[in-house]
Amino acid sequence: MRLYAAAVFAFLYLPIAVIAVFSFNAGTHASQFTGFSVQWYGKALSNPFVMEALRTSFIVALSSALIASVFGTMAALALQGRVRVVADALFYIAVLIPGIVIGIATLIALVTLFGWINPLLALLGPEGQAPQLAMGYGSLIAAHALFSMSLVIIILRARLAGMDRSLMEASADLYAPPFATFRQVTLPLIFPGILAGFLLSFTFSFDDFIIAFFVAGSETTLPIYVFSSIRRGVTPEINAIGTMVLAVSLLLLVAAQIILRGGSRKGAS
């Protein structure tokens, strides 16, 4: 049994470990370790295409995570105090649906939408000058925000459900109008959940390839860049990028976990 578990972990993590190790390879070959060097990191970080993709990924991740946190929080608050079996089930399903389905669905939805709106927009100005909707930042951010919102809602629903309702009543009893109660009691108590949701959303967006591939239009996110470069062969530079993405993601995930754990200990007075 332990051997079996060890084998599973080996299959899971060995390829990742190989990537991390070879990112420090001094040689150009992806399969022959010839010495330790960080030159590929330098190469990756000075490659304008990589930096451009990184910038795109960062903007998309930050924007979608912000939107998901704000609207996810509002949705969770609106559903607060109610048992909503169907709503909860739908949020979970949204998280579990394979990315490829979301990607295709978003693509079809957006293409259809653009097909309706663009002819209308075309009426606004002469040929070629009227604004036209197209895939790009907007569709990337929208698709990621929509997916991440389910994550945020699930985290916050759990947190709100574990929160003592009488705290809000106590605040009202102590003369705080509803918004003051929200600002002084509800928000501070669910803030760790919002922060964790934000970090998870950011990580999801930053790492996502499948959904982005469908809706990115002419934009290139880091995972899309990596995918297209790999077709020209795996270089230590790609390994370096992969390792950096991995490190950032792990860091954010661990931070989110710590925030959620620490927050819930305090929240349960």
């Binding site: 009488s166 009893d173 102590l174």
Partner: protein, 376 residues
């Protein structure tokens, strides 16, 4: 308002001006009638308790006064103003919650100052700090201000909750089973502390509890509740001596009940006959008529226990003896009447000689000690 049985009144308008009043306040949750046309007044400076078993509507009544629930019908008045639809944050009352509901993200001092900081115009920091310190001193927690809530013990949290409420000088302080989570010794201490505090501050206290000892020891007046209604209200002594029903007698103090049928009644005296044919005389207060199901209630301390048989004494066997210091509590068994509780004072026991389980004895009580009550 229906007329209440004699000797009790839900409102006491002649003694004190009213600070709060319910007028036929009803609260329904679907099919459940949690408050059934509650009508009563609360006198200024009074310590009033709602006493009744779990689920009888005590919390609902309190929450309608706090503003967390709006009555389905009827009105609530506070200090002469109609507040039926006024939200909680605009009502000059404060509540001590059953599980304290202290804010876990704030310090003890910030919890206590919370209500003061919501005032507009906002009082300055120094004034808030001064009032918070005074409140801490009042609940004997001087110096605990900077602590976090989870660093406080249960009893200390209880006091913080109390301080957080009284610091606002509310017109009415509402307490929902505030001592239920404390252990016995601490509860007794807090009862005394609450009572002292209430006298010191002169604030009206409304307490909800299912613990009769708590209600009896602290209140000026108790409202006994049964399925959403107040069945009797009065001073602890009045409730103990003149309960209007078996339900009340059972809830206030301990009592023995002998169930049967009211056979005869003349004025305030009547006779109850048990299913086994035993007849007992007793006092009668309610509107009960002959033929009604009734119960003879005799308080344990009004029953005498003797070795020798006397005229009118009933033979019993001693089942159990519990020494309580000043008193000894005996459980005795009568062949027809079942088990009876007898409380014997120390001196009486010394004079008569003690009983051991298994001993035979005889119980007697004065006819006026028996109170004939309706069964509801």
């Amino acid at each position: 308002m229906q007329s209440l049985p004699h000797g009790t009144s839900a409102t006491d308008p002649d003694t004190k001006p009213l600070i709060a009043e319910f007028r036929a306040a009803t609260k329904r949750y679907g099919d459940i009638l949690a408050a059934d046309a509650l009508s009563f007044g609360i006198g200024k400076g009074e310590f009033l308790s709602f006493l009744g078993p779990s689920g009888c509507g005590k919390t609902t009544a309190l929450r309608m006064l706090a503003g967390f629930e709006t009555p389905t019908s009827g009105e609530v008045y506070l200090d002469g103003e109609r507040v039926t639809d006024v939200p909680a944050y605009k009502r000059p009352v404060n509540m001590v919650f059953q599980h304290y509901a202290l804010f876990p993200h704030l310090t003890v001092a910030d919890n206590i100052g919370y209500g003061l900081r919501q005032r507009r115009p906002r009082p300055d920091r120094a004034e808030v700090a001064r009032k918070v310190d005074r409140a801490l001193e009042m609940v004997r927690l001087t110096g605990f201000g900077p602590r976090r809530i989870w660093e406080m013990s249960g009893g200390q949290q209880q006091r913080v909750a109390l301080a957080r409420a009284i610091v606002n000088e509310p017109k009415v302080l509402l307490l929902d089973e505030p001592l239920a989570a404390l252990d016995r010794k601490l509860r007794r201490e807090m009862q005394i502390e609450l009572q002292t505090l209430q006298r010191q501050l002169g604030i009206t206290f409304v307490l909800v509890t299912h613990d009769q000892e708590e209600a009896l020891s602290m209140s000026d007046r108790i409202c006994i509740m049964q399925s959403g209604r107040i069945v009797q209200s009065g001073s602890p002594t009045a409730l103990y001596d003149q309960p209007v029903s078996r339900y009340v007698a059972d809830f206030v103090g301990k009592s023995n009940f002998i169930d049967g049928t009211l056979m005869t009644r003349s004025g305030n005296a009547g006779q109850v006959q048990t299913a086994t044919g035993h007849r007992f005389a007793g006092r009668l207060a309610g509107p009960l008529g002959p033929g009604a199901n009734a119960s003879l209630s005799i308080r344990p301390e009004q029953i005498g226990l003797a070795h020798a048989a006397r005229d009118g004494a009933e033979p019993v066997t001693v089942i159990n003896r519990i020494f309580l210091g000043e008193h000894t509590e005996y459980l005795v068994r009568h062949a027809a009447l079942g088990d009876l509780l007898v409380l014997v004072a120390r001196q009486a026991e010394a004079a008569e000689g003690g009983f051991a389980p298994g001993d035979a004895g005889h119980v007697t009580w004065a006819p006026e000690a028996g109170l004939i009550l309706g069964l509801d």
